[in-house]
Structures are given as C-alpha cells and as structure tokens.
Point group: C2
Chain length 457, copies 2
C-alpha cells in the first residue's frame, strides 16, 4: 500500500470520521414505514459522498421498495472488476431505554463509535468509499475496476435485490463480489468468513375467540390461544435441544473435519463467553461446541412472542389470539422454502384443537460457502495480514446475509467477505458500536486487498 495513500488517509482522518457520524445520524430503519423518508435521505447522502470521492456514474436507482445506490470506476483495463456491496439501512433501535446514548446521535467514546448501524453496516461500507477516495486523490487511479451497489433493504431481507440483480446483470457484471458486513473472529484474531447460514423467518398466529374473554367465566371451557401456541411451538423441539420438525436435518451433512479442527485450534473459552453474556451457562444442541452450534448447525429460534394482556400486574383475560415470531438459521443444503413446507406439515400434524393456526412465511435466504483456497480468498488473507499484522483464520459465520448466495448465483461470481467488525459490537441490539482501531486497520486491509488482486493480474 503506497505511502501517499496512507498519508492521505491520515491527513483526512478527522474529517472522514466527522462525515461518518453524519451518515449515522440518519435513522434509515428500513422495516418502519415511518422512516421511509430517512432511508431515502441516507441513499442521497451516500450518492453525494460517493461523487465527492471520485466515483463515477453515481445514481440512485429505484426499486419496488427502497432504492439502490450505484457507482463505478472502471479505468483499470486488463484488471479484474470487483462489485462492492453494502447496505445503508439499519435495524430498528428498540428497546430505546437500553441505549446509553440515543441510537441516532452518534458518540465516540472509549475509541468506539456508538450508534445504530455503526458496525452493521454503515462504517464498513464507508471504509470502501474512503479507500477509493484515497487512491484517486493520492494516486489518481485504482489498482482494479470497482463497481458499487449499496442497498437499503438488507435488514428486511432484501426483497427487491434479486429482481434488481437480474434486471441489471450486465451493469453489475464482475469477477468477484466484495462484502464487508460482519465481525471477524476476535480483536486478537482476524478471520475470513468462508460460509454463512441461511435464514427463514416466519410467524405463527393462533386465533381463538372473536374477542378477549373473562378467564373466570370462560377459562377451562375454550382453548386458550397462547396455550395452544406454546404447546405447538414446544413440540418443535426435542428434549436434547435438537429440532423435532420432521425432515429438518435431511439436507444437513456433518461439519467437515477440517473446519471442526480449525475451531478446536481457536480454543474458545465457553465459560468466559457465558460470563460475558450474563447467562449461568451456554446451552444448545447436544454434541456440539458453542462455535459449532452457532455457525455450523441449523437453529429454530423464537425472536418474539406476544398475546393477551401486556401491561402491569395481572389481568384475568382469556385472550383472542397469540403470535410467535420465529426464524431458522440454515446450513449446508437446507432450502428456506423446503423448511417452510416442513414447518407447515408439522403444524398440520400437531394442530391444536379449538383454535385456528396460520403460518405466515416471511424472510428467506439460502446458506453460502466458498473454498478457503480460492485465489481471491488467498488475496484477502494477505490483505488481513497487512492490515492486522497476523494471518487470519477461516471460520463460518452463524449470521445470514441472504444476498451473498443470491449475488453468487445471479452474477455467477465468488463472494469475498471482507469483514471488518468485531464480535460484541451489539449488531441488532442496543448500544451498537464500531471500534475505531478497525476503522484504521480496515482501510489498510481494503487497500491491500485491491493491491493483491491487482498483482494476481
């Protein structure tokens, strides 16, 4: 990485950070209709910032939902073209009372930036823009061709990205897709993620009586929708913590010996993790370590449940309905639509009496993996070594970026995940933050990666 680039980044660091805080101030919560104008504002802010960085052909491209921001710089003939993807939308900030400082009033303290979207994904995508700006200002050109595709619907499972990719396949054509949207293994141990879990999100709604009933006058005589719901959902799990939905594991192979060994080498301290999370002990499917359970094994998780009286104290109602919000993380060859069908069949088989049950299919995304010896992964490994001073390990992530698989399939190119976040940065939770040390190391890693790819030819 050229000295001139390092110097440019150092000289503009304060200004760049201040600009990033402006980005974080925009509450671009994609799931909330109330925040629709803010999502648009974030797209416009991003387009302006890309233009200022020297990126060409910047445009805000409409979809059925929130827009995609595109831009490119394509003046490195004979060199590979990379498509950098990121998302400028963020998760809802609730529960607000658990934030130490307001989620959309970013604050730097303890060398971290606190704000909703700090690590997921605003700072990470911002680093890619600043890397390009540094090249163009310090060197006048980039070592490779780069296209940018930033979407505003990742946190609602990218409903319009697939059609967008299909429609603009030619414009987006690239030799690789690069995404920075997750955490590395630890502060001490950089890593490259070579796999992601898939996802299917759904709701199960149980409806009983037309309106809430007095539990004294009707209790015992009418099926209680909450009871029906919890019995149904409880039936989806075996005593050993495994999932009891018939066929759920049909397309799941045992984890490879290679990845299990690499995990053993990491010597994960499970008691330390339990203490950090504030739980008496870690718990999950028998026969697998914490790291294996959270990255190599599928899950069926309750994300939310509601029904009946929600206020203070007790209200003796027999409620008219109950709702569970659930999601599965998927691995290997599991397909979200097939899993939906299996859950539907399970509901049919265990249908509670005296109520009606509906499965509402929501988000879906397939699992993804890439070989650790792929040339671009090898380039990434060298880049991390340059940025973080040590070789990265290969891991699989438990999270889902459904569009990784979509990109790979629709653009027919490998996806390189250049994660620059750290674990414990409270993605999707109160007090989300991003470490400033990774701001600096991340810029070096990105620039080194482009240099490595350039060298490969």
């Amino acid at each position: 990485m050229a000295m001139s680039i390092q110097q440019y980044l150092a000289e503009h660091r304060e200004q760049h950070l201040s600009q990033l805080l402006d980005f974080l101030r925009i509450p671009s919560v994609s799931t909330s209709s109330k925040h629709k104008p803010d999502v648009r504002k974030a797209a416009e802010w991003l387009a302006d910032t890309m233009k200022q960085a020297g990126i060409e052909n910047v445009k805000i491209m409409e979809t059925e939902g929130h827009p995609v921001v595109y831009g490119d710089w394509l003046h490195a003939p004979g060199k590979p073209t990379a498509l950098v993807y990121g998302h400028y939308d963020v998760q809802p900030a609730e529960p607000l009372d658990l934030w130490e400082t307001p989620p959309f009033e970013p604050e730097i303290r303890d060398n971290k930036i606190f704000a909703r979207g700090a690590t997921d994904d605003k700072a990470q995508l911002y680093l890619h823009i600043k890397a390009v700006e540094a090249y163009l200002n310090a060197e006048g050109s980039l070592p490779v061709n780069i296209k940018f595709c930033f979407e505003g619907e990742e946190e609602i499972a990218s409903p319009n990205l697939s059609p967008f990719l299909e429609k603009h396949r030619e414009m987006l054509k690239a030799e690789m897709i690069v995404i920075s949207d997750g955490p590395m293994y630890s502060r001490e141990q950089p890593s490259i993620c070579i796999g992601l879990r898939g996802l299917c999100g759904f709701e199960i709604e149980v409806k009983g009586p037309r309106s809430d009933l007095h539990s004294g006058l009707y209790g015992g005589g009418v099926a209680n929708p909450i009871t029906a719901l919890i019995q149904l959902v409880a039936s989806m799990r075996n005593e050993d913590g495994s999932i009891a939905v018939e066929g759920f594991y049909d397309h799941v192979s045992a984890p490879s010996e290679a990845i299990r060994k690499s995990y053993e080498a990491l010597q994960d301290n499970e008691q330390k993790t339990a203490d950090e999370l504030g739980v008496p002990k870690l718990y999950g499917e028998a026969g697998y370590s914490f790291m294996e359970r959270t990255t190599l094994r599928p899950t069926l998780e309750l994300n939310g449940i509601l029904g009946g009286y929600q206020g203070e104290g007790i209200k003796t109602v027999l409620p008219s309905s109950a709702l569970a919000k659930m999601s599965c993380r998927l691995v290997d060859q599991q397909d979200p639509d097939e899993i939906f069908d299996l859950i539907e069949a399970h509901i049919e088989k265990h249908k509670p009496e005296g109520v009606t049950v509906q499965l509402i299919r929501r988000d879906r995304g397939k699992p993804y993996t890439i070989a650790p010896d792929h040339p671009y992964i090898e380039a990434a490994a060298k880049a991390y070594e340059a940025g973080f001073g040590q070789k990265p390990v290969f891991i699989q992530s438990g999270g889902s970026i459904p569009i990784v698989e979509v990109f790979s399939r629709l653009l027919n190119a490998p996806v390189v995940m250049l994660d620059l976040g750290l674990p414990g940065e409270n993605m999707h939770a109160p007090n989300e933050h991003f470490h400033l040390e990774n701001y600096d190391k991340g810029l070096i890693t990105i620039c080194s990666f482009w240099d490595e790819v350039h060298s490969q030819g």
Copy 2:
C-alpha cells in the same frame, strides 16, 4: 313489593339512568396509578349519591390503597341486618381500538348501556342504592337493616379489604352479606350462584443473556428465554388438557351429582356457544361439559405472554427475557398459597438450562360455596321469581370474587349473590354493557328480596 315503590322508580327512571351514566363516565381503573384521582372521584360521587338516597352515616374510609365507601340505615329493629357489598373500580379498558364507542363515554343503544364497568360492577351496585332510595322516599323506611360497603380495589384483588374487614368487624357486623357482581345464567333463565372459583395469579419470568443478542451470531449457542419459558409452561399441561402440576388436584373432589344433574337440565348448547365465541369448537379437560369445565373444575390459564421483538415483521434477535402472565381458577378445597408452592416445585423440577426463572406471586383468593337450601337463598329464589317471572336455577360461577370467601370467613355470615348481569355483557373485555331490562327487573328483585327477608323475621 309496594305499588308506591314501583311508582317512585318509574317516575324517576330517566333521572336515575342519567345519574348512572355520570357514574360510568368516571374512569376508575384501580390497577393504573394514572387513574388514582379518578378512583377517588368515583368514591366521592358514590358517597354523595348515597347521601341523596337517604342512606345515613355515609363516609369515605381510607385504606392503604383506594378508599372504602360506607353507609347504613339501621332503623328496622328486630329485623336482620344485611351488608351490601359492591365495587366502584373497573378493569382497564384496553385494547381501546376494539371499542365501538369510547369506554368512558357511556351510550345507551339497543336497550343496553355501553361503558367500561357497566355490568362489572357499577350498574349492579347502583341498583341497590336506588332500591333504598325508593323505599325511603315512597315508604319512609326499609323492611330490613342495611349496611353498605363499596370498595375501589376489587379489580386488583382487594389487597386492603381483609384488613379493613378485620379492623371494622363490629361496624360491618351483619346476618348476611349481599353482593350483585356477576351474570345470571341467561336472559331466559335467571339463576342463583351458590359457588365461586378461587384464584391465584402469578407471573413467570425467564431471564437469559444480559441484552438482546443477534440470533445469527448467537442462535443455537445460548438458551433462548422464550423457548425456555414456553417449554416450562407447556410442561404444566397433559395431552388430555388436564393440569400436570403435581398435587394440583389433591384437594378437588368430583362435582356433586346434584349440581351435575342441574347442569344437565339446562341443556347447554355447546355448538351455539362455540359459534357465538367464534371458535371452531369448544375445548378443554376431557370428561367434563363446557359448563362443568368453566365452573366446577380448576384451570391454569395464560392471560398474557411477552418477550423479544413485538413490532411489525421479523427481527432476528435472541431476546434477553420472556414473561408469562398466568392465573389458576380454584375450586373446592384448593388454597391459592398451596397452589403457588406446587407451581414453584414444578418450576424447580422442570427448570430449563442456561437461564434463570422466577415465579412472581400476585393475586390470590379462595373458592366459596353456600347450600342451595339456606333460608336466605330461598328468599333470593322468591325474589328472582318476582323480578323475572320464573324460578331461578342454582349454578356455580367460574369467576372469582375472592372477597366473597373473605367476607364469609371474617364476618362469619353467609354471602348471598344476587347477580343481575347477563352473560355476553363483555365483562373485562371491549364493549362492556348492561341490559336495561335487567335494570328494571333487578330493582324489583332487590326490593322483593328485602321484603322476603323481612317476612322471614
């Protein structure tokens, strides 16, 4: 019942109804600290109205919580003294959006008064005041001695009534307690309630990680508090709908043949009930009819559940806690504190791993029964025949008025439940109402009851 009294009530009907609407306008929600001044206002309104009716010694008596309104008329020497109990507090009105007209803007339509508290218990206690007013204005005296004790905490399980009764035992001394706070069997079939279920209300809270976690990064690795909660609660019920908490039925005898026979005679139409409630079919403990399940059998009911994400769509969190709001209806010799202990033991035995569980004991009340051949019950039967034109049947109610048992025990006197509501009047639910036909028939029933008791000597 004297013609003069009937005439007085007829002449003042419109004025009395208008005054009742004023009472219903006061949002005396006892569970809500926000409404504390309204509860006080209702007590003051009631005291004024009692004084205007000619009731003597009216006073607002302080407790640790909301006050008791007392009054009496004791100028019938040699005749029994009755203590009339009622409550001027009401349930919360939520969910507000399901009310056709606002809960505290009473409206008369279809010959019914719609308002929160209409049937539970404001109209019913109001009828007792108006009956006394009619006697005193038309005849100058009452056929019996009457004391009034109206509380403002029935909907929060009367936490201060027991100490009040103990402290004022002498003042409240009576040969019987009369309570109108429930529905009769049906519009076509008046009834006398000779039994009530007891109640114990509680919350089960499950705590997991210190804060909400990303379900992708931690899912499968950490116990999910909602999953732990629903598995624990699901374990409290057997497949046949009976309750699996060990020892739960230990003090429950089989219903008497007499009451089962009287129920059979009522020929309850279960399909009609299911249709009215909007459920595919009625459901509950095997081996018992709907009426038996809702009045003679104990229950374990979920009144509310909450945990994790509660907004629109899916948010992939692994929540930090989950809470179930539950209550049992108790019968026969079941004791709420014993039941709490059994539930605590069940939780201990089925304690989920990786989380902490807490049982929070809330409301409690014992079951109550009275013999159908008690002289005051026989007087009540004649009074209903006078008011409604047909003999009442004897039933047990599934609801709980814990203070019925408390009154009976602390004042050592039988409780006569002179219910004047009708089923389907949405007690504790949106669009609560009271039928005006029972307003008129109820006044005749109350006056006839005092006449019958007078005749007994």
